[in-house]
């Protein structure tokens, strides 16, 4: 009960400054009444109650479950038996990678701020961007980033190699992909790091880093999040590139078929 009230209070603290800024500028600077004020107020109340309930539910169900599974998957009892004095091979952590990928993809699909951005993107693109496809693209990127992050912790390779490589890929893709997708792609990197995914990923990183000798939980836990921010950018641009390629091929086919049709007519 106490944590319930605490969550409602924290969320209120999160929303109040924004409400103050919006209403302050609306009435102090713009000096025009808000259209359909009662509806807007109901909306803000729904955001407050909804976000609080969402967080309470996460704390009660998804986070403990995710953390429990992350520690169980990385614990010595679960990993395959080791022969005397043998070193662990990176393949021993097979289920960790599968878990990282699946949990990364599925939690990103349920991320509220990503849903919000994809609704907006679908609206203004006039239907060329399918909100669900966008979310799937971001989820796949997120999943890939997290899986790579887990693998990196196991291998112990320096984070900045991966970051540099990902940056390079982002820059190369930026030059090649359709211009209209670039801002949305860059935004989707920041969107994913808000509510659900981060605590579960952090638990996985922490579990991995503390079960492998020579890894520091502090440095390695954060590395996963840094990678997870970059890969959605790559996957969203990739999605646009593939979509563009498919349309171009489609058009080419049509053009090739046209003269044939003409000759038949003759």
């Amino acid at each position: 009960m106490n944590s319930l009230l605490g969550t409602f209070w924290h969320t209120l603290m999160d929303i109040l400054p924004i409400v103050a800024v919006i209403f302050g500028f609306q009435y102090g600077v713009i000096r025009k009444p808000i259209k359909r004020l009662s509806r807007v107020i109901v909306g803000f109340l729904m955001v407050w109650i909804g976000l609080s309930l969402f967080l309470v539910g996460l704390e009660q169900a998804l986070f403990p479950m995710g953390e429990l599974m992350a520690t169980q998957l990385t614990s010595v009892d679960f990993l395959p038996m080791l022969e005397e004095g043998a070193q662990r091979h990176w393949r021993d952590y097979f289920w960790v990678y599968v878990f990282a990928f699946m949990i990364g993809a599925s939690t990103t699909l349920a991320e509220p701020s990503l849903i919000a951005v994809s609704i907006k993107a679908g609206e203004i693109s006039g239907g060329t961007i399918n909100p669900l496809m966008l979310r799937i693209a971001v989820s796949l990127g997120m999943a890939l980033g997290i899986t790579l992050g887990a693998w990196r912790i196991v291998m112990g390779w320096p984070l900045h190699w991966f970051i540099f490589a990902a940056y390079l890929l982002v820059i190369l893709q930026t030059l090649r992909s359709p211009r209209s997708i670039i801002p949305l792609a860059f935004d989707s990197g920041g969107v994913t790091t808000s509510t659900i995914t981060v605590p579960i990923i952090a638990a996985l990183g922490l579990g991995l880093a503390s079960s492998i000798p020579g890894r520091s939980p502090l440095m390695d836990g954060f590395g996963m999040i840094a990678l997870a921010c970059l890969f959605p950018i790559i996957s969203v641009m990739g999605y646009a590139q593939i979509a563009q390629w498919v349309t171009i091929r489609h058009h080419k086919k049509k053009r090739q078929q046209m003269p044939k049709g003409d000759s038949n007519a003759l």
């Binding site: 800024v21 919006i22 976000l51 009660q60 949990i103 599925s106």
Partner: protein
Amino acid sequence: MEIVVSLVRQMRESLRDLAPVVLVMAFFQLAVLRQPLPSTLALADLLTGLICVVIGLTLFIKGLEFGLFPVGESLARAFVTKGSLVWLLLFSFALGFGSTIAEPALIAVANQAANVVAEGGLINQTDAARQVFASSLRMVVAVSVGSAVVLGVLRIFKGWPLHLMIISGYVIVLLLTLLVPPEIVGIAYDSGGVTTSTITVPLVTALGVGLASSIKGRSPMLDGFGLIAFASVMPIIFVLLFSLMGLPFLPGVAL
């Protein structure tokens, strides 16, 4: 009545959105781990938690459509018709700063960061020094998000190319990373992710899209997005700079 119908429809979507998480967890629990749940995790608690998540997500998304989205866009349009760039930039700064300074996640990260930095020997091992560090870090991050929104809004007005700005941001981050003490790097990168909270993202998106669709010659797709991208790179740069230039001058902090 109309609200109820749309809520029920949204509820179905929320269920669909959450189904994959539940399936993944059930699969791992039943097929891979095959260990009983510990006594601290009752099945009933898990179920009520999941119900809370579904109802919460539903209310949140519908609430955005009723409140935050229309207000954000109509404010953006009003600023454009008013024609005052100064007020708009002030508003942008207040929005970025205000939504970040009180963010609970940032408060938690700042306190944790103070401990890390104290253990790393960058500041004194006293409570006072930790507190000064934590509150200045929060301030730096909040100012950085405010400036990020200002820069993003300026970009929408001027039509500057986003990718060049973001890529130069990356380059600055990389260069600064080489110069700062290693303890601060993790904190700096983390602060970029902390700032983009669940409420800030939709509001800032609505602001950007609203601006881009009411300014002549701007397309919402090309120019409306990108504010979040700034808000996640700028804090990294500011925190790295702060550790280089601000840290030694904090009262009672420098060794």
